[in-house]
């Protein structure tokens, strides 16, 4: 049913990874991505892959669920893989007419594929284990230093969390409008692209009107509940770094060190 949609790709489970502070998780993910680009041979990937496997196992997110996350990038993966195989010169292994496969090409293709896969799994682990709303809170806290440069960090975060809150409401609204129009004979499913796009206009107009209505009501409700921007506001969930957060941070920094050493000496 349309009301049951899950936002983002959060996988509900009770695990250490789920409980790690969102700020630490965001920085850890960025650090991990950087590490993937420091690595320049397969041995380095053993380090990264090992750390990754540890995190995935601790997160209790099923492997199938993670693999499904790779599906959308399957095409890009194949594309770069094939491109790399055929485009790199070097020691020729197989030659068919003008197509040749080289040893170097094969190795680079495999290398790039592994890097991409680790990249995707690493960054989706963040969204698998963190609710969008908590992610938003984390981003707000991380961006806080930018307040000094007059960046409205609180407002940005508030906008993001309100947007998240109203996605289901607007979907329901769209559903209602479409049904009301279908009941009066509107046809959204036949015709060419232009005709279908035109059929959407009578949905978009009422949808926009109701979005404005919601915005007006919500603004009034927020004012009635004493909302006056970010200054002087406290939070119920004060984000506090726990021991596990430090462990994660130390782990990632350690990995960074290892990856750099590996690149220099091995």
């Amino acid at each position: 049913m349309i009301r049951d949609i899950t936002l983002g790709q959060y996988y509900a489970a009770e695990s250490v990874v789920h409980r790690v502070d969102p700020r630490v998780k965001i920085i850890a993910t960025l650090l991990f991505i950087a590490e993937l680009f420091i690595v320049d041979d397969f041995k380095g990937f053993i380090l990264c892959g090992g750390a990754m496997a540890l995190a995935v196992a601790a997160s209790k997110v099923p492997l199938g669920f993670i693999m499904r996350g790779l599906k959308p990038i399957l095409f890009i993966l194949m594309f770069t893989f094939v491109l790399n195989i055929f485009m790199i010169d070097g020691h020729i292994l197989v030659k068919l007419w003008f197509i040749k496969i080289t040893k170097e090409g094969l190795l680079t293709a495999a290398f790039m594929a592994i890097r991409l896969i680790l990249l995707i799994i690493g960054s989706s682990l963040l969204t698998f284990t963190t609710k969008p709303i908590i992610l938003t809170d984390g981003i707000e806290k991380l961006l806080a230093p930018l307040k000094a440069f007059k960046v409205p960090t609180h407002e940005i975060a508030m906008m993001m969390s309100i947007a998240l809150r109203f996605i289901p409401t607007l979907i329901e609204e769209t559903d209602k409008i479409m049904k009301a129009q279908q009941a009066r004979g509107a046809d959204f499913e036949s015709g060419n692209i232009m005709q279908r796009a035109k059929a959407l206009i009578p949905i978009l107009v009422p949808l926009f009107i109701s979005a404005f209505q919601i915005a007006q009501d919500l603004a009034m409700a927020m004012e009635a509940r004493c909302y006056r921007g970010g200054t002087g506001r406290t939070r119920m969930h004060a984000m506090k770094l726990m021991r596990r957060d430090y462990f994660v941070a130390i782990g990632l920094v350690l990995l960074l060190g290892l990856v750099i050493l590996e690149r220099i000496y091995l």
Binding site: C226, T234, M236, H237
Partner: protein, 279 residues
């Protein structure tokens, strides 16, 4: 007891538009709300009752006259947040007043705006959810709840701000009968615990539960008094095209058929009790 809200010669005019011209939504309203009471304000669509509600906590400001919440004038910018904390408000549409995608975070929104300590917010959120009987939904997403449940969350969000008075602006208008009953029970309960309740509604059968009923018609007060008094004024109500509560209508009809029913029966419960003892 002292009056928590004093309305003195309130006039309200919406800014004029080219087609409609300016129209007075409220004219010369005088009304005092006593602390701890339960007042119902009734009117038809367009009678100005919602406009009146939004004037009570400074969401709209009077065009003429003034409104005092405790000792603060709603037009006084300096105390606007004290006013809104003292007189909380629950709106009609349960969807459009919930801010967060987690129930307990939404309840925490008000106290967070007041700058209260996190541990104290936690305590308030828990007790507010308890008060509306929604504790076990604290981690749920609002869009998965029923209309009545969402409205209870909205009430909890106001209760957590510890207001002295809550203005309910047609809180049941978009609910099914079951949700409506839940909300009325909670309003009665909160009032019993000492919160002044002002209920704006167009359901006569909700108004009979109040201590005092004020009928608004075309921007001014038509009747004001106890439910027993107000609903006995059949002629005035009928001339303003308003219905009577079920029990009142019924006793009037029975009386016309020669059954001796005492005046002052306004709620269904009173009616049931009378019928059971009728010989």
């Amino acid at each position: 007891m002292a009056d928590i809200i004093r309305i003195e010669n309130l006039t309200f005019e919406y800014p004029s538009t080219e087609e409609a011209g300016s129209k007075k939504a409220l004219e010369n309203i005088n009304l005092n709300i006593e602390q701890g009471t339960f007042t119902a304000i009734i009117g038809k669509n367009g009678s100005g009752k919602s406009t009146l509600a939004k004037n009570l906590n400074g969401l709209l400001l009077p065009s003429g006259g003034r409104i005092l919440v405790k000792e603060w004038d709603t037009a006084d910018d300096e105390h606007i947040w004290d006013i809104r904390q003292t007189a909380g408000m629950v709106f009609q549409n349960p969807d459009n007043q919930l801010i967060s995608s987690i129930v307990e975070d939404d309840v925490a929104f008000g106290p967070e705006n007041l700058g209260i300590e996190p541990s104290e917010i936690r305590r308030r959120v828990d007790s507010a959810l308890e008060a509306v009987n929604m504790s076990k939904f604290s981690k749920k997403a609002p869009h998965l709840l029923s209309g009545g449940q969402k409205q209870r969350i909205a009430i909890a969000g106001v209760v957590a701000m510890r207001p002295e008075c809550i203005i309910f602006d047609e809180p049941t208008a978009m609910l099914d009968p079951k949700g409506r009953e839940e909300i009325m029970t909670i309003i009665k309960q909160l009032n019993k615990e000492g919160i002044t309740a002002v209920l704006i509604t167009h359901f006569m059968d909700e108004a009979v539960l109040a201590d005092r009923v004020v009928i608004i018609n075309e921007g001014s007060i038509l009747l004001d008094g106890t439910p027993e008094y107000v609903f006995a004024q059949e002629d005035i109500l009928k001339s303003a095209n308003m219905d009577l509560p079920l029990a009142v209508e019924m006793s009037n009809r029975l009386r016309r058929r020669g059954i001796d029913i005492p005046k002052g029966i306004v709620t269904v419960e009173e009616m049931v009790e009378f019928i059971c003892q009728y010989k």
